[in-house]
Symmetry: C2
DNA sequence: TTTTGTGCAAAGCGTTTGCAGGCAC
DNA sequence: GTGCCTGCAAACGCTTTGCACAAAA
């Protein structure tokens, strides 16, 4: 908790309970929640927080490069406190979004840059399929 | 044109001028236009076509697997008549979306499947950066 | 005290839906 | 002639905005 406050200060953001709570959810969870989902999670502990605050805070954190935003093809965006570019895997059965930790992406990037005369800043990679759990239950 | 009519018939879709026009735009262009953009392109030749028809048609074509839909982080979705999974490159300066033709993606897919116990159906890969043209003009 | 954030309600915008008339077959 | 498609307008859902009050620095 202390750690999150420091992080916000380090990025010259005012430290508020709302910001800490929202960042904490993103930091602790692996589900890459949407704004709506974060809002619902906070109903218990922060019943007065509005959806607008969730959106404004996510925008602030995004601009401070503390979270990343992405869209896996749904109506709404998802958020992730891990800002390092890393592939995501989306299960088409249960719609969970998983992280893919280890991958030799550097080679891929270099190969593409050489091939295209494009200067690559970052990439978003999504694999769609069926996760291990859902494969079992079929 | 004939070719597009055949394609629609082959997928058991009724052949209408609207469907032909919309698919033709996607087939001819390399810009991966949004629904709005397709609508505007058709104002000249099909002034009575409604935005709703564009959306409904895109949905129909998507379900028939004649086009693919994706979101590169914008407010709206983009569409592509090339349904083969292929990486896209998004220029952060001019916001154009390019295709990346050649890539040894099969290896990547196999590697990820072995690493994760996930059954991969398809993938969406986006590289963000600065395109050759925009690099020149800086 | 100054500055910035929060909460509410309303607006905005891309997309979807319901329905009546029209067209493909 | 039947059933699906189109076009219009209204509705929908996610996200943003304006504003008054509250909290952080």
């Amino acid at each position: 908790m202390q750690h999150i406050a420091e992080l916000l200060k380090a990025h010259k953001l005012k430290v508020t309970p709302q910001r800490i709570a929202i960042f904490k959810i993103l930091y602790d969870s692996k589900e890459h929640p949407s704004a709506e989902h974060i809002y619902k999670c906070l109903q218990e502990t922060h019943p007065t927080m509005s959806l607008a605050t969730v959106y404004k805070t996510l925008d602030t954190l995004k601009k401070a490069e503390l979270v990343q935003e992405f869209n896996v093809g749904e109506d709404s965006f998802r958020y992730d406190a891990n800002i390092k570019a890393h592939p995501h895997m989306i299960c088409l059965e249960c719609h969970k979004v998983f992280d893919l930790a280890t991958m030799k992406l550097e080679n891929l990037k270099k190969y593409v840059e050489e091939d295209t005369d494009f200067e690559i800043m970052y990439e978003k990679i999504f694999f769609y399929g069926v996760c291990a759990d859902c494969k079992k239950n079929k």
